[in-house]
């Protein structure tokens, strides 16, 4: 395909090429999000009533919590991000998706992998490594599916009309490589028959956790935000130079964070991580400035729209990343380590930062790829308020509770039971927030499901119509030519390239 051809391709055709893979990725992701949040609430219930699931092995806290966490990351965040990445790459390349069947197959492989992994954890076949709990069968599926999507994304990138890369390209392309390498490495070492001996296992797991929860989320989330923010705000990205600086510092410094300060390993490891964390403040601030400058002064009326989602997500990035970094400061880690603080930060990164950006992006993309309005536009707006309020209500009590618990734990005069009781009070408030987030996720799922159903019904009608026509007249079906005026309606945005 040569660049001159691409110019004749209108956005609606590009969107149409993404339709099936994106619906497959988003639909499953929304379902996993709902299930993950529900399972997370079920897990936390054990703290409200300890004997609730005493006879139900698969709902015991250790299993349900691990499965819920993995559903948020592997079930929702990654496939949803992959869908958005495919669409952004196709749009930026001004070319239809390359190898469109590959991501459809990959999406199904991925979802089967998540299903296998979740069931394995609930039945007690977790690997025992945090954030890498999925056993080998599931991990292989996930790895293969991700690689397939990455191949399609990179092929689309290769067909781009304009050779120059946009900042989103850098972030998202790096994210594709990042996952394949770190997830592959961790699984090869830890989920194999020849796992390294001793505490190296924990080190590799911390390395993976940091590379997924800090670096990968930042790459994917910001790459997506840097595409949508300028577009919706109607002005170019504030500073490509800052974005590049932020990207490079993020990948070079951020990838060294992750080893807890009191880890039972040689002292150089936590020390290096503390330095990495300190230096990671630079990209967080730089990228925050880029996003802020882009958003500032934009006259976008946003009442629960995609812009709100993405703006909230970017602010969450700055706050949650700084909180994450603070966990690796030797002085604070003494108090914050081993408390609910870490859980709160992780949930903020997953739901408040990337989750928000992805949901906003999905609401922006879905009407385009299916050429329909959202079936429940009001629920989509409600979704924003449920997500934003719910996440804050979920996470902030955990952070404060973690801090209080940590202070109590650091004082040997306070009995252990009292220190735990301090956190319990806050845990009760945070569960309310978790419920709100779950309601929000239901809005998202409902929108995607109904939209998919509508599209499938439409498809059925067309097929039936075509069959009828051909039976009646015997004439071959001719696809409609690309209608430029129809495109203009859907495409209220020419590519907002700086």
């Amino acid at each position: 395909m040569n660049p001159t051809e691409n110019k004749t391709i209108c956005s609606s055709e590009i969107d149409a090429s993404c339709r099936v893979p994106l619906l497959a990725l988003f639909g499953g992701a929304a379902l996993w999000l709902v299930l993950g949040l529900a399972l997370g609430i079920a897990a936390i219930l054990s703290f409200h009533k300890p004997d609730l699931f005493a006879d139900i092995p698969f709902l015991t806290f250790g299993r349900a919590q691990a499965a819920a966490n993995d559903l948020l990351l592997y079930g929702f965040t990654i496939p949803a991000a992959l869908g958005v990445i495919l669409w952004i790459f196709a749009r930026l390349s001004q070319a239809p998706l390359a190898l469109p069947i590959v991501p459809v197959v990959a999406a199904n492989l991925w979802h089967v992998g998540v299903l296998v992994g979740t069931i394995s954890i609930l039945l007690g076949f977790s690997t025992g490594h945090p954030w890498l709990e999925y056993p080998r069968a599931a991990a292989v599926l996930l790895f293969a599916a991700f690689t397939l999507v990455a191949v399609s994304a990179v092929a689309t990138l290769g067909f781009r009309a304009n050779r120059e890369l946009y900042p989103s390209h850098w972030f998202l392309f790096a994210a594709l490589l990042w996952f394949v390498w770190s997830y592959g490495t961790a699984n090869l070492f830890l989920v194999s028959n020849h796992a390294p001996r001793g505490v190296v296992q924990a080190v590799i797991d911390w390395w993976l956790t940091n590379n997924l929860l800090f670096v990968w989320l930042a790459l994917a989330g910001l790459g997506i935000a840097f595409y949508f923010l300028p577009k919706i705000a109607g002005k170019p990205l504030a500073s490509c130079g800052y974005a590049l600086f932020g990207l490079l510092t993020l990948v070079f410094f951020g990838s060294w964070v992750g080893i807890p300060q009191s880890a039972p390993v040689p002292a150089w490891l936590p020390t290096v991580s503390a330095f990495g964390a300190l230096l990671s403040v630079i990209p967080v601030i730089a990228l925050g400035i880029v996003a802020n400058k882009t958003v500032c002064g934009a006259k976008v009326s946003c009442f629960g729209g995609s812009f709100c989602f993405i703006r909230f997500g970017v602010s969450s990035f700055v706050v949650s990343s700084l909180l994450y970094i603070s966990e690796f400061c030797p002085r604070y880690s003494r108090v914050l380590e081993f408390t609910w603080f870490n859980f709160g930060v992780t949930q903020w990164q997953l739901l408040g930062f990337v989750g928000m950006i992805l949901t906003g992006a999905i609401y922006e993309i879905l009407p385009r790829v299916t050429r329909r309005e959202l079936p429940f536009a009001k629920l989509a707006k409600l979704n924003f308020f449920l997500f934003a309020g719910g996440t804050l209500l979920f996470v902030i009590p955990l952070l404060i509770g973690g801090l209080e618990q940590g202070k109590a734990l650091a004082n040997a005069a306070v009995p252990f039971a009292d220190a735990s009781a301090v956190a319990l009070k806050f845990l009760r408030i945070s569960t309310t927030g978790q419920l709100l987030v779950l309601l929000g996720a239901l809005c998202l799922l409902l929108n995607i499901l109904v939209m998919t159903l509508q599209w499938k019904l439409g498809l059925l009608k067309t097929v039936v119509g075509v069959v009828k026509d051909s039976l009646a007249e015997g004439s071959a079906y001719q696809p409609l030519p690309c209608d430029k005026s129809a495109c203009a309606v859907l495409q209220r945005d020419e590519e907002a390239k700086p």
């Binding site: 919590q65 392309f173 790096a174 390498w181 080190v203 590379n211 040689p266 081993f338 734990l409």
Partner: protein, 295 residues
């Protein structure tokens, strides 16, 4: 960053360097570790788990115990402690005066004189008495020698300090050598429950562990631990008699009359694993004085 290749290169180098540092480096340094020896002893460390305890680690993994429990004691530092164990023929008041005079005259003791004096204030002769606890080991040896000369017996020890130690969760910090035989290594990241690295020292009774797993609140009143009843079977008593391994439970936790609670194989393995957790031997990288050495 105009070409895809430059982005690829930047990401590749960044992740590669981090991989080299945080994956390859530890593999080379720690991955080849072999068992060490307990300090001043020929005992190998870590102790090899046997039978049920090895299987119990898998039950621990499967049930996700590490979601709420850590297996890692933290330590903030170490202190040299000098304790008086026997004051011989002297009276407490005389000894106090003697030590105070030493504090004023021996140059090595000057810096720590306030700390020692504070320890002595209000002492009426009850033993053992901690005279000094701090970083300075010359104080310990100097004071110990002077007291030995007048027939007072003291003991000098190195102890780990820190909140976890003060809570009684261990005698020293967890170090890499402790986890050599664990597969998977489950350090844990949340202390919703107490640290378990020395639970085998604190609660060595397998029956206590089993009862605690079945009904945590029957033993620890305020416990927030979920009960693990699915690891037990409630069965009808054979001919009205208890089986050999039936749990002895308080009335409010026991099943109805004629029934008994019997642990499954998994429960027994898990209890065996918990009892095997005893990370309390002094090692080169985590030294402390385990037994008293009279001066």
């Amino acid at each position: 960053m105009k070409t895809g290749f430059s982005v690829f290169l930047a990401a590749f180098v960044a992740l590669g360097v981090s991989w080299f540092g945080l994956v390859y480096g530890p593999l080379k340094q720690l991955g080849v570790a072999t068992e060490t020896k307990v300090l001043q002893s020929d005992t190998k460390w870590p102790l090899q788990r046997t039978g049920d305890a090895t299987l119990g680690l898998q039950v621990y993994r499967s049930a996700g115990c590490a979601a709420c429990h850590t297996e890692q004691v933290r330590q903030s530092g170490a202190a040299n402690v000098l304790t008086v164990t026997d004051i011989g023929v002297h009276k407490a008041a005389d000894l106090k005066d003697f030590v105070r005079s030493l504090l004023g005259t021996v140059p090595e003791l000057m810096n720590s004189s306030n700390a020692v004096a504070a320890n002595l204030a209000g002492w009426n002769g009850e033993l053992p008495k901690v005279l000094y606890s701090g970083a300075d080991d010359t104080v310990v040896s100097m004071l110990g020698d002077k007291l030995k000369a007048v027939g007072v017996k003291t003991e000098a020890r190195v102890v780990a300090t820190g909140t976890d130690i003060a809570r009684g969760w261990g005698t020293r910090q967890g170090v890499a050598a402790d986890y050599l035989y664990d597969a998977p290594v489950q350090l844990g990241s949340l202390r919703a429950g107490p640290d378990l690295s020395t639970i085998g020292v604190r609660a060595p009774d397998v029956n206590w562990q089993l009862q605690h797993l079945y009904a945590p609140r029957s033993l620890v009143k305020n416990s927030t631990m979920p009960a693990f009843r699915f690891l037990f079977t409630v069965q009808k008593k054979a001919e009205g008699k208890d089986s050999a391994d039936a749990l002895v439970l308080p009335k409010e936790f026991a099943p109805t009359d004629g029934y008994e609670v019997v642990p499954t194989a998994e429960a027994k393995q898990l209890a065996a694993y918990l009892v095997s957790l005893k990370n309390n031997a002094p090692l080169y990288e985590a030294p402390f004085t385990p037994i008293t050495a009279a001066k």
